[in-house]
Symmetry: C2
């Protein structure tokens, strides 16, 4: 790993985790050099990328430190540029952002990933991100769909009480849920019409400039 280079973000253009970081940076108004990693050509399994010790979106700092995990990368930028606050302010709000961001990821995004990774022919024997030789388990498609249905109901109920997931302020929890739902669109699943609150919120978030990131 070369040290002393400028900070750069290794970006998988089609990966929802990379998109989460791009939307987050757009909300912050931060411009960071992107290095595109071509997953279709398995570039993420190449030696030069594996040296960065990660299977996913990576931020390489000036001193060569590599930070992977999209939320960890967002946390870094929140610390170096606190405004606008996307992880909440104050103990209760920060805890609620953490709670809703995790729900959006564990109940929303992971469910979508489970459906796609265990059904799409391109992920045959790659049913887990960043690992080779993991066979698909078709039973996970139905389990994922049921989880996603529960997730839509959960956020619909919550968004009947608050404007955004963690409360009245837009946060990383909205970014995670928004990107997860965009990802679900690839298998033609969307927020059901019956979830009026979630649909109102989705239209609201979709109208933000950052949605194009």
């Amino acid at each position: 790993m070369k040290r002393g280079d400028a900070m750069k973000l290794y970006d998988f253009s089609l990966a929802p985790n990379s998109r989460r970081v791009r939307v987050f940076l757009a909300e912050k108004g931060i411009d960071t050099p992107l290095v595109s990693v071509n997953t279709r050509e398995n570039e993420h399994f190449s030696d030069w990328f594996r040296e960065k010790n990660s299977a996913c979106t990576v931020l390489e700092l000036n001193d060569g430190t590599c930070i992977s995990e999209s939320v960890a990368i967002c946390r870094y930028f929140e610390e170096v540029q606190p405004e606008p606050a996307l992880f909440g302010t104050g103990a209760t709000e920060r805890a609620l952002v953490e709670m809703w961001n995790r729900r959006a990821e564990l109940e929303g995004q992971q469910a979508v990933a489970q459906i796609i990774r265990n059904s799409a022919p391109m992920f045959k024997d790659r049913a887990l991100a960043g690992v080779r030789g993991v066979p698909q388990i078709p039973a996970l498609i139905e389990r994922g769909k049921a989880s996603l249905c529960r997730f839509f109901e959960t956020i619909d109920q919550r968004l009947g009480e608050t404007r955004y997931l963690a409360g009245e302020s837009f946060s990383i929890a909205d970014i995670t849920a928004f990107v997860a739902i965009g990802f679900a669109g690839r298998v033609e699943i969307g927020v059901p019409n019956s979830c009026a609150n979630a649909n109102r919120w989705f239209a609201d978030v979709s109208a933000r400039l950052s949605a194009e990131a």
Copy 2:
């Protein structure tokens, strides 16, 4: 939900997520009233608990706000009592704690949960925490075991470079990994002897007073 009561933590004594919070509080030296929820008797599916809008460990604040998700609860306490810092200090360290805590959870704890939830007779039709009517998928047992093997190798490599997972300071990432490995002990899986660095770290963390929480 009654409002105006004192803060309390609803605790599932056998659940690894509850244990993560107990160890975290022990490290902080914080004493919070615990209300035990009896999962063996399905008390977590009861109406009074469901009103708190969660399927897992919950912190109820004085004003009635309920925070679920163990990391969100820990985050709340980190904000109200920053010392000792268990989420890191400074942008890079906080990002590294986030990164390693997530890896410990997504690659370690979730793998153990996958093995146990899809094999133990007591979780028949309850293969996901907090949800009824989710059948077990036996193929996930092997997938979980393979993930856990990769996790042991990942942390062993890391712990050859640093004293603790996120660097030289003990953090919530160590708590998550430590609790996950304790949880794996229930199905008689432990850190392999070949992982000398991980074993050195595990003995170190096991010797802390908080390990008994």
